[in-house]
Symmetry: D2
Subunit: 406 residues, 4 copies
Amino acid sequence: MSAATFSSLCFSRGCFWKDEAKNSPRVMKGSGKVKISSIRGSATLPTKSLQVEDGKTQKSEKQVRIGLLGASGYTGAEIVRLLANHPYFGITLMTADRKAGQSIGSVFPHLISQDLPTMVAVKDADFSNVDAVFCCLPHGTTQEIIKGLPKSLKIVDLSADFRLRDVSEYEEWYGQPHIAPDLQKEAVYGLTEISREDIKNARLVANPGCYPTSIQLPLVPLIQANLIQYRNIIIDAKSGVSGAGRGAKEANLYSEIAEGIYSYGVTRHRHVPEIEQGLTDVASSKVTVSFTPHLMPMIRGMQSTIYVEMAPGVTIDDLYQQLKISYEHEEFVKLLEKGVVPRTHNVRGSNYCLMNVFPDRIPGRAIIISVIDNLVKGASGQALQNLNIMLGFPENTGLLYQPLFP
Amino acid sequence: MSAATFSSLCFSRGCFWKDEAKNSPRVMKGSGKVKISSIRGSATLPTKSLQVEDGKTQKSEKQVRIGLLGASGYTGAEIVRLLANHPYFGITLMTADRKAGQSIGSVFPHLISQDLPTMVAVKDADFSNVDAVFCCLPHGTTQEIIKGLPKSLKIVDLSADFRLRDVSEYEEWYGQPHIAPDLQKEAVYGLTEISREDIKNARLVANPGCYPTSIQLPLVPLIQANLIQYRNIIIDAKSGVSGAGRGAKEANLYSEIAEGIYSYGVTRHRHVPEIEQGLTDVASSKVTVSFTPHLMPMIRGMQSTIYVEMAPGVTIDDLYQQLKISYEHEEFVKLLEKGVVPRTHNVRGSNYCLMNVFPDRIPGRAIIISVIDNLVKGASGQALQNLNIMLGFPENTGLLYQPLFP
Amino acid sequence: MSAATFSSLCFSRGCFWKDEAKNSPRVMKGSGKVKISSIRGSATLPTKSLQVEDGKTQKSEKQVRIGLLGASGYTGAEIVRLLANHPYFGITLMTADRKAGQSIGSVFPHLISQDLPTMVAVKDADFSNVDAVFCCLPHGTTQEIIKGLPKSLKIVDLSADFRLRDVSEYEEWYGQPHIAPDLQKEAVYGLTEISREDIKNARLVANPGCYPTSIQLPLVPLIQANLIQYRNIIIDAKSGVSGAGRGAKEANLYSEIAEGIYSYGVTRHRHVPEIEQGLTDVASSKVTVSFTPHLMPMIRGMQSTIYVEMAPGVTIDDLYQQLKISYEHEEFVKLLEKGVVPRTHNVRGSNYCLMNVFPDRIPGRAIIISVIDNLVKGASGQALQNLNIMLGFPENTGLLYQPLFP
Amino acid sequence: MSAATFSSLCFSRGCFWKDEAKNSPRVMKGSGKVKISSIRGSATLPTKSLQVEDGKTQKSEKQVRIGLLGASGYTGAEIVRLLANHPYFGITLMTADRKAGQSIGSVFPHLISQDLPTMVAVKDADFSNVDAVFCCLPHGTTQEIIKGLPKSLKIVDLSADFRLRDVSEYEEWYGQPHIAPDLQKEAVYGLTEISREDIKNARLVANPGCYPTSIQLPLVPLIQANLIQYRNIIIDAKSGVSGAGRGAKEANLYSEIAEGIYSYGVTRHRHVPEIEQGLTDVASSKVTVSFTPHLMPMIRGMQSTIYVEMAPGVTIDDLYQQLKISYEHEEFVKLLEKGVVPRTHNVRGSNYCLMNVFPDRIPGRAIIISVIDNLVKGASGQALQNLNIMLGFPENTGLLYQPLFP
């Protein structure tokens, strides 16, 4: 069976979860090596013989060698969780500057059963054994690190550093000049369902923020179809606290968060320019939104409640039909049946985005609700979805976790 | 000291909490009896001699005899909690149909130290020993019960039954005809800070709903002053789950509520007509609002995030100044310093409403945030505030609990 | 590829998750049909040709047809979640008396992406299309239903009905006579790691309770090895509220559970006889334990803190070594490194049991801590582990979900 | 009214809450000054004329001037909350080194309505305007600060610094030598119900830890009456996370605490020597306990589940009767009716300790459960109870808050 290839593994063996193949980019079969048609250039990845008599061999099957930069944060841990059951991606490098020398099990005891490389400082990382990278580092640092990575690596960056095409806007919102404007030009914004074709050919994908994901998925098709007005788009968003990361801050202590809610960044949250960039891209003029995020006493989950004015003559049903058309063949974006309210409970731990549209009491207005798990579709899940695409795998590979409820 | 009167007790003796006297209606001193000038008609209440050598006597000092109808629900329990330290109000009757025969300590073990009458079915209630009533019964039932009460009783009704002046609107939203339209005419809507003067003379006060309280307090003065547009008032409201009461419902189980959020009653929540009635009252034409309530994974607390368009030429500062003028002498409504975000944590267990106003990114728009504890200012606390006023006591009597945080 | 068999699918194709093969019973290859050596009698299951060009075909690959009785409760939903990614088990029958006629997505919206049969009342169930059953019904009802099932079915029963070998003990603790004592004799108690060999040959497995699982896993090997005294075994157990099920009860409302804890069933919890049965089985005389369960403000998770006296001359290290020997080759039971405290966070959503042993301040005593997810290893996960074994699949098939944290 | 005295205020005017007078030390009336018989030495406190026409004057009534050291932590905030309604204690000094220059409202926005002095660094504190001090500083620092305070001050110290009589034990558990052993000798351990008489005459009270309070209250009377064995006292304790304070630690983030539990300090928690000191004091020989604290996903609340062996011939009823006798006249310690389980929900925000005793399944053993709010009876509430006693006020003054539920 030494001639096994990615494609044959993938399509002949049932090695992935049920239904994983939806929307899959086609891969070409090779021999001894895998050649994935959708990868730009000549990304030829090594394969190994498949001996599946025991679990250990299963592991050796994972031919794409993944580097995980910033493994000690929540998005890093989530990458590890998702890859644990990914048939082709295996982690060969983990970095975490402050946890260098530690195992994943000591930093994240829930992952104790994972046999993974010891964490190293990013400066000590050896990329010779890495094919692709998830970068879960803080903004600012990220540009510098990615700038120094081998050009042969596929990269999905979960930070904000490459999301804004206009580097002057980056400087305005992040308070520091962008130091890798060339990379910025190369970067593809990775809102999977919207930019799938570009992602296929990307080397560097800027993974969207959680709020922008939950907001653009419903709004982009509606704006593109001229069904809603650009003016007075009011977004009241609610997020679980894991979005704030694992840093020790008084504001995020259990005693400060549990049993209460509040708005933050009322007039100036950093996800605003990303949202407006995405909406403006499909509009005929600059879109300015009202965006108010709220912190919820829950770990995971995000809801955007979006209040819009419909274009003249447009009805709720028009909005509903447009969203239906846009997403009916999507694996992870689900328009619910009419009248059914999306709930964050129903996406927890999964890569799904649920959405629906409702009539407002005020004539001519509509209410759109979308929910995601901020750490999955809002971060690590979408990142994996993107890397699957970049490497020519079915994009749902390793992502068919059902939500954890209750 | 047998000639002691309410007024002398109240004003000469410091028997109430610090600062309780703010906004107090004046009371006239009598002799042996209390005559409270602000009570309509001749509500003369008996007083007793004051012997304060021990705690038991303290209790006998509580001369206003309170009936609590519907004592086995959360708002009923909250009335008991608040009255525990009220110097003048003592509970002499408690009803709870399904818990008849039980003590407060068996129904609400947190109140075990309260020495209160055994609960009786409302049909068995003896009102001869009662001066005033808090009615915490479900809508529908309430009308019938209140209709049958002695006319001498002061009543604060916490249900929705007497909030809507237009009984046809009641029928529309509650699905049943109003059976006590005459009482409806008599009822005074008890949004304390807005209707204080009417409440003084009321016999029956319809205590506002929690959402309407949090929404009208900021909006009424702004609409009244013509500072905001009537159109496109968008209210995204968030409530703790105690607002749903103690009834056993699958939807409100811990496992269904914790760690998730969702919108409910998206297009048709029963508090809508109450909100619109209050806003229309001070507007020059009918106000229709967009109102979307969300259920939060927390027990208490409510936030209304309100998105408005300012009238032409009006600035954020104008809104701020108006709210400042409206509430600067209020005990329980606090406009925060500019830029400070109200948080539900900071009102938990207290009768305060905190609010503030923020500029929106969209020019000409403003964001108003107000928070209350839905069971206190949103229910039992405001009810007590109202009864204090109806009986001529300082309205903050027994209400100066500071929020419980953390 | 028409000659594909379960075994070849399973062992030659890598169709399961990494490492799934640990502890797998061997299966014999057949031709056109699957003959699983470990199944008692002649359980020959139909197989289908494998066409894996798209996801739909993947689904048809699931040759074991599962009936799920009681699909509208939390353990039923958890079975669905786990089977969603099981390569061989497909649900062909779902019953839920009160939700008959509904889809899984309307009863559990988090499972909306699962394409499953409509729920029927159990009396209307057609078992002709079913190979094996998970029974998630309440105790009492369960006996009756299982009694009426075709004898060809493999059954894992998650209720308490077949856990107690002594039917008089069942009557004592459950207040009703056992109506299927013959089935009771046939039933195998399904604490997987302890009774694996018996489970292989079982037709009816009584899946252990959550508390008994978390308690017996550490105690059985220690008692068996005579390392701890039978007397004074004190178990202070803590459980999330999902263990109480989805029934609407005032006691389990969010407002009654959040932000507080309490002991329940202090002197008489129904899991006691099951625990004592399991411990007595490996002891030389009857073991009576002190068992006090506590309800925690969390949905999932269970910890048993167990206080024991060591046998004369025995040390903590002896206990540690024994547990190490007992579980070092287990996939789902993990003895942590010395000094590391097991946390429920680290098993949430997974089938793992983490445990450790600590010295007590009181000489001669030890403290044992074990944690599980009550709905997975404490219910549906262990049930699936058992059915995998009963049908000759690697027992970790479809169970390698990593814990969801944070 | 210039001759008003504390005592007349207190006993003739009903200025305190109902029932506040229970267990009150008698105070002697003076003239123009207050002389409190129970205060050791000559603590003569100034009084002021009482003009109660408005709230401002009410405030001037508060004649005991309180210094609050360490006002920016949770126990400091809780002191402020409780004193807000204390008729005699007014805060005139607040220190918080890292928040120096800030107002209470900026550090704790829930206390925004309190008009209090700006926080200063403790080194800048002026004690000339202070009669008594609550010291809410960390251990270690505390000794040093208290050492430097004027000897005329009454002090209640909430840290661990003066709880252990044996300074060598302090050094052993806290890892540093005690630097104020003379003060240690003077300090009275302030478990109010047990040491009330000593507290009356104390200048420096070491306020007990939260765990030790919940454990000693039930155990001290039972050990003293020789009803339980000293050996094998097993304490499984559960605490809300506010006990860990407001310091920013990863371990106490919402995402790390919510929806999970764990044991900490399994073999060596610093409250052990305090617990053993208190139990040994009333035993005839050294008592060594097993003590395992668990962190709960809740802000406030503490339960100790205590497993004991009864002395030969002793019954559960004997234990119950002893606790009944010990506490039947206590305001804050309540033995529940037989069979009723104490719940932390039922003490939240209040100074109550609820307890009960239950038979164990193992003959001769009993289970004792006690609950408190760790920040009130476990910290600031008991501290206030102690200062009330030290200054001759009824000990329940300002403490009759009913629990906040739901």
